[in-house]
Symmetry: C2
Subunit: 156 residues, 2 copies
């Protein structure tokens, strides 16, 4: 992939995309929380074909059409997110901090060996939400820590 | 300006910018219609500084903060629009047709010698609105033509 294409994608992502990660309560996971991360490109559904083409060029993710005439190109798998961040990082201007932190979080996620590691990861996610100005923060690192202590998975 | 910056701007403009032109009734103009054209980059006002920086780098236009927490970097002068289109044209994917047509319209605008020329320009603007899926078209080429005939500025 050449630099000019990478810079174009970075401009597009800065303007109308999002990089985000959150914790969702899900008791089928080892620590009762799922790490839910996505890189998303949005556009009016009249440009859905453009997103489909972009998806083919990048080689990860999928395109879905919402009910409100907006289509989204969503990359939700770790490898795909790492790839798109690697490609765009040096050209991003608005979302560079989010991209760097997402890299860190995805690396942390692949190396969780203990409840302590998981709480550390949750703290990185707290920081992410500050960057994204997310107001509704339910599953913060504090909530995770308290839960893991209650379940005797973590010592106070 | 290097290619990578140009490609970034093109991606940004494709994702969250607009290129548009319309006719506004204004009897202080020779043919009673003003050609109102703009290239606009939009963002949440929390990124207003980014738009201000972009404005300095491109060297044309101005940034304004709207009441709804959105800021706009607006280029409304002919030279500035020509410049930003020249820079981005070969990298645009979604708005390439609009950019090419805008170049044509800006050239036509600088070379109006008769009411016939003005009606031809109005027809280009009709085509522009088709590209932009504009539904409210009041001042079409037909309206302009009829008005100029009524004013004896054009022979039927």
């Amino acid at each position: 992939m050449n630099n000019v294409f990478a810079a174009y994608i970075a401009g597009f992502l800065d303007a109308d995309g999002s990089i985000y990660v959150q914790l969702k309560k899900n008791t089928s996971y080892k620590y009762d929380f799922q790490i839910y991360a996505q890189v998303v490109f949005c556009q009016s559904s009249k440009h859905k074909n453009f997103l489909v083409k972009l998806c083919k060029e990048i080689g990860y993710g999928y395109v879905r059409e919402r009910n409100d005439n907006i289509s989204e190109y969503i990359i939700g798998d770790c490898e795909g997110m790492m790839c798109v961040i690697d490609i765009t990082l040096k050209y991003l201007k608005l979302k560079k901090e989010q991209a760097i932190l997402m890299q860190k979080i995805l690396n942390q996620k692949q190396n969780i060996d203990s409840a302590d590691d998981f709480v550390r990861l949750a703290k990185s996610i707290d920081r992410f939400r500050e960057l994204n100005y997310s107001k509704k923060r339910i599953n913060t690192a504090d909530v995770v820590k308290k839960h893991l202590i209650e379940k005797n998975l973590l010592t106070p």
